[in-house]
């Protein structure tokens, strides 16, 4: 129900019924990702996270499922690490990476 300035939006008319499994799944996956961010480092933690979200959301082709996690991870890594010069945690890969 879209009221003046409430958070509901027009798209709600198209949205499906609430799925607790997907909701909890999304939260859980994100929580695990954030927890693993420092210890595992960005490069190791992100691809599985993206893959899990893609799976939970559904509707992605299998080729997308395979490629997207890595493409997005690398694109973001390059942007943040080399573009913005932000020290992204490398986790156990620290010292091994050539840069």
């Amino acid at each position: 129900m879209a009221g003046p300035l409430s958070d509901a939006s027009p798209e709600e008319e198209d949205a499906g019924p609430f799925s607790p499994a997907r909701f909890v799944g999304a939260i859980g996956a994100t929580a695990l990702y954030v927890a693993a961010f420092d210890p595992l480092g960005y490069l190791l933690a992100t691809p599985p996270y993206i893959a899990v979200i893609l799976l939970i959301h559904g509707g992605a082709r299998s080729r997308t499922l395979l490629i997207t996690p890595f493409v997005v991870t690398i694109a973001l890594y390059v942007t943040f690490r080399f573009g913005l010069l932000i020290p992204v945690p490398d986790g156990p890969l620290e010292g091994i990476l050539p840069w």
Binding site: A2, G3, P4, L5, S6, D7, A8, S9, P10, E11, E12, D14, A15, G16, P17, F18, S19, P20, R22, F23, G25, A26, I27, T30, A31, Y33, V34, F37, D38, Y42, T46, Y49, I50, I53, L54, I56, H57, G58, G59, A60, T64, T68, P69, V72, T73, L76, T79, F80, G83, L84, L85, I86, P87, V88
Partner: protein, 508 residues
Amino acid sequence: MGFLEHLFAGFVSALSGYGVLIMAAGVAWGIVGGAIPGISGAVAMALALPFTFALDAPTALILLAGVWAGANYGGSIPAILMRMPGTPASAACLLDGYVLAQQGKAAKALGVSLICGTIGALISIVVLIALVLPLGEIVVHFGSPETFALALFGLTLIAGLSGPSFLKGIASGFFGLLLTTVGLDTLTGSMRFTFESAELLTGIDTISVMIGLFAVSEMFYLIAHPARPTGKVVTGRTGTAFPNFRELREVGRATFVGTIVGLVVGIMPGAGATASSFVAYNEARRWSKRPELFGKGSLEGVAAPETANNAVQGGDLVPTLALGIPGSNSAAIMLAALLLHGIMPGPFLLTKHPELVFTLFAGLVIVNLLMIPVGIVILRLCLLALKLDPPVLIASILALIVIGTYAGDLFVLNPVQALIFGVIGYGMRIWGFSAAATVLGIVLGVLAESELRRSLIISHGEWSIFVTRPVCAVLLFLTLGVLLYPAFMTALRHWRARRVAAAPAAKS
């Protein structure tokens, strides 16, 4: 050398050598940095600081000016396209911007943000250049009581953000206020709500919480409510039509309001771009010919906040250049650049280094003009991103949010806050509370609480300070007026109706 000669020399200096290239690079960097959720204008400028060592002082300043200008716009891009404020100052524009995007008018909203923002910035810079010294004299008269009154005035917007339930809106606002109390308190040194944890001493991270409440909750919503395969949800966002002249004329009033608000709030120390954007939104709605459209896709609802948050640039630089005291975090970085180049900022900057200041003035004008072409290019690139499949887009946005919120302070608790407030935001949405009211409470609550307490220390506990100081009294009176106006109008209507009902009876 006269004023105009100085200014002319400033332009010559800014445009010489690689100046234009450097400024354009700064603008691009700023837009990208601002667009990345979690990286604010100040952070983007700080990241550019190492590059300024190789440049001379004037060039360093115009580079940073470019980053600053770019970031003011950049934050609105994800706000409009994905309900994700890139910088805290762009939170207000998502209220209507995201709705517009879903109506297929994303490019119109982005165009308005860019064009109106640039207009606001340019006007505020002209005011700065013309009046920096006199304004520097009056800025010290805007103290804690005035800032408190302004914050209170801004908080009246909660009424407008509440949606159907006013009570829930107030509760949401109070929740925001409560959140701002977490952490080490500046005024007493005591630790509030920190639960023995060193990490919580800093309090909540505003941008992470905003991103959580608005964007993460939206992502969770989209995941938890699988859209029916009509494809409507996706195509709604890819409209690439820019605003036409008629639409730009229609937002003229809102742009004007935004500029005034930005100028006034910018000069007030303590209140910055974020506060000004919300106050401008509120005022634009109040003075709009079509207030009922706000929240449902009003271009004015994008024009006003975006103009305001750009128009604070001039105001922030008033104390910065006239007194050597930064008016905002972004201005602080410019001062840092000066210090690192061996130049001492302070009341004598204008007289001791006029060429530097006037080059900066020229640079500020040029970078805001450069915003239009650079902004349009980056805008088109971002619009392309929306053509991605929904699952890919959502997963990428979530990944971007995690690393983005981490990047600003390099603090793992930031993404955690984004996550937690994502869940809270979702709950608020389902149960009719207003995340926007909470964000307003956070943004203005910090100011309101600390300035109220500080005002009372200054006045030795006398509450009369709020009415004996003219500016403060005026603002408080306006706040009262705004709150009582609806009730007053209703009463007036009732009274008039009764008179009309009584009149024919009296006649017969």
